[in-house]
């Protein structure tokens, strides 16, 4: 839904036509509107270049870069944006050169945010960017970070034995640096924060059913025995119920059936 709009809409600024700008802003609101209103954090950043110190990169930070040529437009944009809250996005431009940092968290039920013991199953969870371009590992608290990721649409996968994680599509906007959206690719569920939870636990083994009479009877041996017993006990009953004459006739008929008809 949102994804398709993002890359294609062109944002054009005209120094004379104010109407166009407003329309562009409205469109921008339209795109993000639903999410923006739901988010609680009221953080607005509209400045020409935003560089956060490394320490601040860790969690999520919102940022928006608007580069405009005319001062008037900048002011207008700022005013419009002030009335807008941006959602706490999932990444921020990292201070170290080109690209952004994607920070997320892997969360597994029963794993506390700081617990060491419960996370033992996640000990060697690997996070894979774009099918192996970058590989990182989950820290003890479940967080992970990819540094120097260029703008574009990326894919994050979690490889953790025993759990099935959906790959996550992550869009880093080139026009609004630091603006990141994420969604699970398996069920197209949008993520407000990059918290990755397994869709299900994986059971790699068949579970042995406890012994029961039914399962024994269903086994080939049981069936064989059942069938034999039924032949032994039920068949005589069936034959018994018949008229002896009928049996004889039937037997005769059988005999004639097998004989060649030529006679």
């Amino acid at each position: 839904m949102v994804w398709s709009n993002l890359g294609q809409d062109s944002f054009r600024f005209d120094s004379t036509g104010l109407g166009l700008v407003v329309r562009a802003i409205e469109r921008e609101r339209g795109v993000f509107g639903t999410r923006i209103d739901r988010e609680g954090t009221r953080r607005v950043v509209a400045q020409h270049l935003l560089i956060r110190p490394r320490t601040a990169v860790k969690r999520s930070a919102a940022s928006l870069i608007v580069v405009v040529s005319s001062m008037k437009l900048a002011l207008l944009l700022f005013l419009v944006l002030v009335s807008n809250f941006l959602p706490s996005s999932l990444a921020a431009p990292s201070s170290s050169g080109d690209g952004y940092a994607i920070t997320g968290r892997v969360k597994v039920e029963g794993m506390t945010s700081k617990g060491f013991g419960a996370s033992s199953k996640l000990l060697n969870a690997k996070i894979i960017l774009n099918g192996g371009q970058n590989v990182t590992f989950v820290r003890a608290d479940g967080y992970f970070t990819f540094h120097n990721v260029p703008a574009g649409t990326h894919l994050i996968e979690v490889a953790a034995l025993g759990y099935f994680f959906s790959p996550v599509r992550v869009d880093i906007s080139a026009r609004f640096p630091g603006k990141i959206q994420a969604a699970l690719t398996e069920n197209r569920k949008a993520l407000h924060e990059l918290i990755l939870e397994p869709l299900r636990e994986e059971q790699y083994y068949e579970i042995r059913e406890p012994f029961s009479i039914m399962s024994f009877l269903k086994s080939p041996m049981g069936l064989m025995m059942g069938f034999m017993l039924s032949v032994i006990f039920v068949m005589p009953k069936l034959v018994e119920n018949m008229d002896p004459e009928e049996i004889r006739r039937a037997q005769e008929e059988m005999r004639t059936n097998f004989l060649p008809r030529s006679s």
Binding site: L123, N130, P167, Y204, S230
Partner: protein, 997 residues
């Protein structure tokens, strides 16, 4: 009337049929996956963990309870090994481009690794390998980066980790990886050589070269990174860049001509140069000198004319000759024994012996320790050594050596004995093949295999208890032990089912090993002499391994053998290496360096009279060389020569070319086995819009059982079964990179099916908005390929099935009888083959590392795709899920045929992971080997780890499963017999009663 008479019989018949149907349905209603019970783990499969060739090792002996060593390897593995047994405590496999540069221990509890050319620094928890923090450093890729963990300044205080490379130094906190300070020494072309910290000071010294002639010393504050003092001086004859830190105030460097040493002493901003004359030390010195890295105070190691000199530095211009060492050898780094004393080890190889010497700086002329051990010659020369000490009970120093050998194996040597060894060359398998085991000779092992009947019954009763879930935990353990111990699977002879084989693998180190499929043990190993570094071949590397001789009918007394092909150097025109190894003993039968290069190797489906397989080697000049070189093979080859076609894929030039062979006009004896390639066709892909991403063909030895496929409503479709189908996938050049780099609009993927004899494109399909990486597998008449769909932003798998329409009319038997069929119609190369293509695409969740397809002996069993996922697991996916005839609502007849209703994505059933709860770390490839039993395929997957199992894609319909209970069968029979007698007695009684009546 008549019908009513027959009722009981028909009813009986119906019942019998019903029973049969139930029975059948029970046999075949099994799920599509071949799942495993937890207690069956290890019965048919084995999993071996490796780490690869060790690059760095750091010992950790703080806690005496758990002695361990932390290593980093060439397979990008950082691992913690038990120093006593060599077992892996934990290991982490980094990404494939994330090469580890250095490893160290910080704070005594974190393992710090510097990787990706010095740009990523990670800390791992020493006890369990959990990542603690990760830091990315902006480092220029041009210069090499190094790691320096500062010694404990104050106990309990945060220590700094320094990463330096080029002209910048980063200091990071070892607690959380935050950059504490960063210093960009603003001088162009500065290369920092060393960083060191003089004892008990707050100052770090950094020494380096500017350009080629200036030497710089910086004194930098430990806390802030401020430059306290800076001094530089230039040396007129220049430096070559190699330098060795000898003392805290003395560096020895090589001058620009690499022929003499320069000692540089620096103290309080004064830098002095002294040229050292080597001819004083070495009387007949000439040529070039190499400085060897020896991190030992006051010592220097130089290499002159293939011998190594150990020199002691006494002062700024005074060197003393200590010892001369010849190749092959290894030095260890310095090991501090006490505050003043340090030691280092020299290992020297002398044929099959290794001499260990440990010297301390107190007395360089004599050794603290001198040991000699015998070394298996198949391990090659010694490559690296790491030294560690321990205090003996008599308070003297004992030493242990961690040794890396030429075959990448890792050994721990202590007190003149090998404590443990790891065959880590198996982490870098290049290629593999299989060999049958010898046939069991009669009267040899019958007696030892037979158990007595009582034992046998007892075992089966236990098993029965297990299957009925009545066994106690002790009994369960006993069952497991019986199963795992079963000597049957580890025997060294051929078995009836074809499960026992030898897997012959070729590793990157040039070692050939034979693994037993029963438990994966190494039966024999040989380090090929032809693939070792020598004077004639400076840089050999292993390419492939093929079956060379498989004795079948004619040469039964001979052992089978394999052919190992290598190349001398990395260029395509480097001469080839040929080695023939006996599959049973590992003896090298023949070994030679070829006169020509090796660019393609083609095993032909022909053998000579001694059952040696014919191989054609195509060299870089497009000449084909026939092997084995004997007149017999030539005779066989000439018969088939007009039928031999081959093709080459030139990825850089975006070209595929097809060739046939022609013999040379002038036949002199030397060139008898050389043939000329004749170009038949070529396909050139437009380089501005397409780039070859992947090609795939059918396996040479694949067997197709039926050419026809019976579809619903009794119709027949003929498979287009051709061994010459080549699948080619091309992607748009813009989208040839990684996933995030292209938009859906600029991405295109074309899939081609090409006949490699005629060069005809049979089919071409375009996937809009799709990009690589592409993985493909071709089998029978179908192709399955995996790629990324940018529009949906998911991975997709497509299947193409190709059917022969020209034979579609041959269904009518009458036509065949009356001769109205088209079987005798002329076939022309130029006529367009009448094919029909069906295809379908599905979403697939995971990234794929490798794909393969199961192979069975006769090709009857349905196929499964084996998918190596990004999580290093192997998923078996039934081919029925990738049937282009799947539809949303299959008709009744289609359902009966087994067509699964269409879903948009392929199901991932956790039980169908053939690796169950294991991971084949660093998975690279899967190999499928047919067993003799038609239902079963052997699967060998390798990467850093090895995993072997056998799978039955349609369940084992032709044999009883492992857990089949013979006891239950016996009991059933006994019960039935008893029932017969009882009923017989009863009927006798009844009859008697009847008669009395």
């Amino acid at each position: 009337m008549g019908s009513s008479h027959l009722r009981p019989w028909t009813a009986m018949a119906i019942r019998a049929r019903l029973g049969f149907v139930i029975l059948l349905s029970l046999f075949f209603s099994a799920t599509l996956s071949t799942a495993l019970y937890e207690d069956q783990v290890g019965l048919a499969d084995w999993h071996h963990k490796y780490i690869g060739k060790v690059k760095h090792a750091v010992f950790h002996t703080q806690k005496t309870g758990r002695k361990r060593v932390v290593v980093s390897t060439e397979e990008n593995v950082v691992a913690s090994l038990d120093l006593r047994t060599g077992f892996i405590f934990w290991r982490n496999v980094l990404g494939k481009n994330d090469h580890i540069d250095q490893v160290d221990i910080a704070l005594g509890k974190y393992v710090v690794t510097l990787s990706s050319g010095g740009s990523i620094l990670r800390a791992w928890n020493l006890p369990d390998g959990q990542m603690i923090w990760e830091s990315t450093l902006p480092v220029s890729t041009l210069s090499k980066s190094s790691l320096y963990v500062l010694a404990n300044m104050n106990v309990g205080k945060d220590n700094l980790i320094l990463v330096f490379g080029g002209s910048s130094i980063h200091a990071l906190s070892s607690m959380d990886g935050q950059i504490v300070w960063r210093k960009e020494l603003s001088i162009d072309s500065l290369e920092i050589q060393q960083i060191f910290q003089p004892h008990d000071s707050d100052i770090i010294n950094a020494v380096g070269f500017v350009g080629s002639s200036e030497f710089v010393v910086y004194q930098i504050s430990y806390r802030t990174g401020e430059v306290m003092q800076q001094s530089k001086a230039s040396f007129e004859s220049g430096f070559c860049g190699e330098a060795s830190l000898v003392f805290d105030n003395l560096v020895v460097a090589l001058d620009a001509s690499k022929s003499s040493l320069v000692s540089i002493s620096f103290k309080n901003e004064v830098i002095n140069f002294h040229q050292i004359n080597l001819s004083d030390l070495v009387p007949d010195f000439s040529g070039k000198v190499t400085l060897l890295p020896l991190k030992f105070n006051g010592m220097l190691a130089i290499e002159i004319a293939s011998s190594i000199l150990l020199l002691r530095v006494k002062g700024a211009n005074e060197l003393e000759f200590v010892e001369k060492i010849s190749h092959p050898f290894a030095f260890s780094d310095a090991l501090p024994l006490s505050k003043e004393q340090q030691a280092f080890a020299i290992l020297q190889h002398d044929e099959s012996k290794i001499h260990f010497k440990v010297k301390s700086d107190n007395d360089l002329r004599n050794e603290i320790l001198k040991e000699t051990i015998q070394m298996d010659s198949q391990r090659g020369n010694i490559e690296k050594v790491f030294i560690n000490n321990y205090i003996r009970t008599d308070r003297t120093h004992g030493f242990r050596f961690l040794v890396v050998m030429e075959d990448h194996s890792l050994l721990l040597i202590q007190q003149g004995e090998i404590v443990w060894s790891r065959e880590d060359g198996l982490a870098s398998i290049v290629d593999s093949t299989t060999s049958e085991l010898p046939v069991e000779k009669e009267g040899v092992s019958v007696a030892e295999v037979e158990h007595n009947l009582f034992e046998w019954l007892k075992g089966h009763l236990l098993k029965l208890k297990g299957t009925l879930m009545l066994a106690s935990p002790d009994e369960v353990a006993a069952i497991q032990a019986i199963r795992l111990k079963s000597s049957e699977k580890n025997k060294m002879t051929r078995d009836h089912n074809g499960f026992r084989k030898l897997i012959i693998v070729l590793t990157r180190a040039g070692k050939v090993l034979a693994l037993h499929t029963g438990d994966g043990r190494v039966v024999w190993s040989v380090l090929l002499p032809a693939l070792r570094r020598s004077e004639t071949c400076g840089n050999p590397f292993a390419l492939r391994v093929y079956q060379w001789q498989v004795p079948h009918h004619h040469a039964m007394h001979e052992n089978p053998s394999v052919l190992v092909v290598g190349r001398c150097g990395h260029g395509f025109d480097a001469p080839g290496i040929f080695s023939i190894v006996d599959s049973y003993t590992g003896k090298v039968q023949n070994s030679l360096i070829l006169e020509h290069s090796v660019s393609h190797i083609m095993p032909l489906p022909l053998t000579d009279s001694t059952e040696q397989r014919l191989h054609l080697i195509i060299d870089a000049k497009l000449q084909a060389h026939l092997y084995p070189k004997n007149s017999d093979s030539l005779k066989h080859f000439f018969n088939e020569m007009p039928n031999i076609y081959w093709y080459s894929v030139e990825v850089e030039k975006n070209k595929i070319k097809g060739y046939s062979l022609e013999s040379k006009a002038e036949l002199d004896t030397a060139e008898e086995y050389v043939f000329q390639a004749k170009e038949l066709w070529s396909i050139i892909f437009p380089s501005e819009s397409e780039k070859i991403a992947v090609t795939a063909t059918r396996k040479m030895n694949e067997i197709v059982h039926t050419q026809a496929k019976v579809v619903a409503d009794q119709d027949v479709m003929y498979k287009y079964v051709s061994k010459n189908i080549l699948f080619v996938a091309t992607v748009a050049p813009k989208a040839a990179g990684e996933i995030g780099s292209a938009t859906p609009e600029e991405a295109l993927l074309y899939a081609y099916l090409i006949d490699t004899v005629s060069g005809r494109i049979l089919h071409r399909v375009c996937h809009q908005g799709a990009q690589g990486p592409v993985h493909a597998v071709v089998s029978e008449n179908w192709v399955v390929y995996h790629y990324f769909n940018l529009r949906a932003h998911r991975y997709e798998m497509s299947v193409i099935e190709i059917y022969d329409q020209s034979r579609a009319d041959n269904k009518d038997v009458w036509k065949l009888v009356l001769g109205k069929h088209n079987l005798t119609a002329p076939v022309s190369l130029y006529s367009r083959p009448d094919v029909m293509v069906k295809s379908q695409s599905y979403f697939f969740t995971h990234s794929v590392k490798s794909m393969a397809v199961t192979a069975t002996a006769k090709g009857i069993t349905s196929k499964q795709l084996l998918i190596g996922t990004i999580g290093d697991q192997v998923l078996a996916l039934d081919k029925r899920f990738l049937d282009p005839r799947r539809s949303v609502n299959p008709t009744q007849s289609e359902k009966e045929e087994g067509i699964i209703p269409l879903t948009d994505s392929l199901p991932i059933v956790p039980q169908s992971y053939i690796t169950h709860s294991l991971q084949v770390e660093g998975l690279r490839s899967m190999v499928t080997i047919p067993a003799k039993l038609e239902s079963t395929t052997l699967v060998f997957s390798y990467g850093v780890d090895l995993f072997f199992t056998r799978i039955a894609p349609s369940r084992t319909y032709d044999s009883l499963t492992e857990d089949f209970s013979y006891a239950l069968l016996l009991i059933t029979i006994v019960v039935l017999v008893a029932a017969i007698f009882v009923t017989w007695a009863l009927s006798e009684k009844k009859e008697l009663k009847e008669k009395w009546r």
